[in-house]
Symmetry: C2
Subunit: 583 residues, 2 copies
């Protein structure tokens, strides 16, 4: 037997026991005639004590132990003279009577400590060593806990975990599909699912009523900072539901998770229409932990004084409380910030509402104090506040103001990582116009149902039709999203027409789902959570990479196993495939 206890288990009440422990050598310290070794495993650290006077041979051997050696020790639990109250096992140590090296270790390329000296690249390459560090172990263990709790909750709510296939069919629309050649069927390919969307809808047609799955999905696309080619979704679908049924069910689950995982009682989730979110926050995923809302002051500023404002479709302002004392340098920084390509504004106008009631602005040439006073009032600004104005096309400027708002929120410490403000954003537009292809695209996906009361506009003003689609947003992060689907065959046909599909195209791409719908599809709707994102939110992490055991880098590469990689010509021959030289 390799151990009687783990390295996190022994307490003062165990003093006197003969125990066997196994683990990794965290560090070796010599203090006078004593040698202390910290032995580590997943469960904790235990101090081992060796005494040069009582057993010189053993103690000398212990002194030669290297970092990360794997050892098994036998000894007696003793009370420590100098206790360590930061450590669960800090009251005791093991007076070792014998030990065995189970495996030696080369010196790791970086320190296995909470704060390591290893850079990103090195730690990715030696991910198995990085995963020894406590912060990463904590992340993975929390991920496991969230997984377990999601399942428990959904099981109790009558949801059934049904595994849908990974080897599915590529569609002409599936430009981001990974395809998988088949040796048994040369010339033919499977595709890896971007989501189990179609299968979960089929399961509703099959009468499974409530389905869920925590499932890998795949997308072969250029990776933005925080995307992975394979990612995990909590995927759910319910039959015989309206939008509110879905929202209430998953509001319940989300509250439950925050309660059991973080001991946080979430407030009820407000529902905010997409249009309102855009007006008030300039974003379809507003961070409502703080105010600083967008104010449309277009009509106030367009008085024929300042050309740039006069010609803008929209002039908006946010009010930064207590920032009237911002220095020239600070204001320049903000101007630089909004001009960055990621934000894309032309310039920034500021108005300081000074403590003495006077105004100082970058547009003093064009507007007098009285006018600026009106702006301040419209924005709810008080003495000591700073107005920041952007102008241009409506939606674009709102988006830029939203980015500026978040930046100011960060600067002013308004985005408390320990506070959680959830929100349902609802009533998304059904369609969005694509300039490039000159046709409408489904904003969510082509099975999303329109609002019944907007149906009349579907042929005349399709861009105004709202969808039964919703996103779950927490602290400005989109955690999940879904919709109530179309179950009516006629409406589905009309949707495909609107999206510019011929009957043949619709049949080719979604034929089996449309066939299925002819055999009695129930009303249904669902949601998918980004599981990686949800877990990183619990941990207050910016990136999803640290909640994934073996992530890929932003070129889609696993640098630890060196993948993807070339394959043998024979493997391609078997598949009747040939590599073409890249020009």
């Amino acid at each position: 037997m390799y151990r009687t206890h783990t390295c996190g288990e022994l307490r003062i009440s165990d003093v006197g026991k003969e125990v066997t422990l196994s683990g990794w050598v965290q560090r070796v310290r010599n203090m006078g005639g004593m040698t202390f070794v910290d032995l580590r495993d997943r469960y904790g650290l235990t101090q081992l004590a060796f005494n040069m006077e009582t057993d010189a041979t053993l103690c000398s051997r212990a002194r030669k132990l290297g970092r990360e050696f794997v050892v098994q020790v036998v000894g007696k639990v003793e009370e420590r003279t100098s206790k360590n109250d930061k450590l669960a096992t800090g009251d005791i140590e093991i007076a070792v009577s014998q030990f065995k090296i189970l495996n030696i270790a080369k010196t790791p390329p970086f320190t296995i400590e909470d704060e390591t000296d290893g850079g990103d690249e090195l730690r990715m390459k030696y991910r198995y060593l990085d995963l020894r560090r406590k912060p990463l172990q904590r992340n993975m263990i929390l991920r496991h806990k969230v997984n377990i709790e999601v399942r428990k909750y959904l099981d109790e709510q009558g949801f059934i975990d049904v595994e849908t296939p990974m080897l599915i069919k590529s569609t002409p629309e599936g430009a981001r599909d990974f395809i998988v050649p088949s040796r048994m069927n040369p010339g033919e390919f499977y595709a890896l699912p971007q989501s189990p969307q179609v299968f979960k809808q089929l399961l509703m047609v099959s009468g499974f009523d409530r389905y869920f799955q925590i499932v890998k999905c795949f997308r072969d696309e250029d990776l933005r900072a925080d995307r992975q080619p394979e990612f995990t979704q909590i995927d759910c679908e319910m039959a015989f539901v309206e939008q509110e049924d879905v929202l209430n069910t998953f509001e319940g689950m989300t509250k439950h998770l925050f309660k059991v995982i973080q001991d946080v009682e979430l407030p009820d989730f407000p529902r905010m229409p997409y249009a309102e979110a855009m007006e008030r926050y300039g974003s379809d995923k507003p961070d409502i932990r703080f105010g600083m809302e967008l104010n449309d002051i277009t009509s106030l500023v367009q008085i024929g004084a300042f050309k740039i404002f006069d010609s803008a479709a929209y002039v908006g302002a946010i009010c930064a409380k207590g920032c009237a004392n911002y220095s020239r340098k600070q204001l320049d920084q903000l101007t630089d910030f909004v001009k960055r390509p990621q934000v894309g504004a032309q310039g920034l106008v500021y108005v300081k509402y000074n403590e003495d009631g006077s105004f100082k602005s970058s547009v003093d040439k064009f507007y007098n104090a009285e006018e600026l006073q009106k702006w301040a009032e419209a924005c709810g600004a008080a003495k000591g506040d700073l107005l920041l104005l952007l102008s241009g096309k409506r939606e674009k400027t709102q988006t830029q103001l939203s980015t500026l708002r978040l930046e100011m929120g960060n600067r002013l410490g308004l985005r408390d990582k320990t506070a959680f403000q959830p929100l349902w954003v609802v009533d998304f537009p059904l369609l969005e116009w694509d300039e490039e292809t000159e046709r409408y695209h489904a904003m969510h996906h082509p099975f999303t149902s329109p609002k019944e009361e907007d149906l009349a506009m579907i042929e005349t003003e399709p861009e105004k039709v709202r969808a039964n689609a919703y996103d779950l947003v927490i602290n400005g992060v989109e955690v999940g999203g879904g919709s109530v689907r179309i179950h009516d065959q006629e409406l589905q046909k009309k949707m495909f027409q609107l999206l510019g599909f011929t009957d043949e195209e619709a049949q080719e791409q979604f034929g089996f789902l449309m066939d299925a719908f002819q055999y009695g599809a129930p009303p249904h709707g669902g949601i998918a959570y980004g599981f990686d994102r949800l877990v990183s939110m619990f941990l207050g992490l910016e990136s999803i990479r640290d909640v994934i055991a073996f992530p890929k880098n932003n070129m889609g590469r696993d640098v630890m196993i060196d993948s993807p990689s070339p394959v043998a010509k024979e493997q391609l021959d078997d598949l009747y495939l040939k590599q073409v030289e890249k020009k």
Copy 2:
């Protein structure tokens, strides 16, 4: 709201309530002035009643409802006059006051009944309709339950669910790998995992101590009757364990599952060495629900009387209790059975030990009663029993006898589907000689550790070295298997040498794992269960296909979605791939 109750929920105590139900029309019956509609959902059936006299319009509409229409009804719960005690809701019916057709349905191509009239192919094509049938819903729900219980149990035992990547690396040995071209890295490929073996070992190096995952695995190979290109494993690994630790942990889990899922108390699992299993049952996965063991009677029969026996390396017999009265026809059937290519025997010798104490055999020409009496004694045969003998090469003949034994077990009703006899088969040979490539192959995989006491033979008689490898066998079905791994770097190197790898080849194929092992690998071992197989065993099903929601056929095709299928040339162009004509 679509419903106040499900179709399986209402009881006599609900009589008088006004309810709303939604579901599928199972059938419509007209009885005099009444019309009865069975409404179905996942939870059950509820009878709807319509009365032509009290509401002719409504009743006439109900009479027009087709099979599988989706309807929503409002009505009052009433006590039935003729109750149906086979139905949970059989005491009540709904006196419907209004209903709405939520969706119409084409007539399904087969009946949605427990026993359907649809053939295999048709049901695969319309899998979403087949999945409406109760037996398949029951299978999926049980699968969900097993999944939940496995997780609960392992969580309580300190196992952590860690997701390992699906996009991994192809190795030259990975002839059965599915490969996945990468658009971001043209000319390079990922591979889909045949198992997470390497990653779970890395997680042990990382100190996760106890890992599990219920995970999809992939194998691109010719599919035998009951294989799928994608299948699901319960994959587990533990650090600081010896073989018995692993066996005890998973014996515990298996017992727990049988208890909570089937209410079956499994006995303790015997451990049977591979060599013993082969001798006694001719199989490394013996069905021990019944005896009828193999008897080696080689020395008894080799008396220079019968050439075929004399020249055979092995002559074995099984004793079929009470079968001495088998007819000529029955014996001919058995002879035909063993001569089938799947069994491959040359012929069958029988010896009847008649009730009157006389013998009748197919080798009466060569052996007298006294000699046959000795055989009967060696096989523990009594009057009325039948001996069945096969001869030839040792292992091959044992395997044939094993197949015959199972056939006789079936014929004699000795393989009770409600009885479960689990067994650990242990001490598998470490290596097996491959005639074709003329080298040793790892029987399990190249990381499997040899028995310490056999190590001395590793260079002299490698075929005799036993491994710390084990299979979990229940009722003759291999449900899981695993091994204690090699954690010693030197031993691992020796193994690769034995398997005929050069250092370079070993480095190329397993480099990152061997690298990882240099940084302090703990002793570790694990197991993987075939999850599909386990679930089908609980249900007493022969095939795993009916416990998979959307299975593929034995050509690896999903006939419902028509996959795999050709892809657009543009998709291949993006990947710098070209299709080669099949000759």
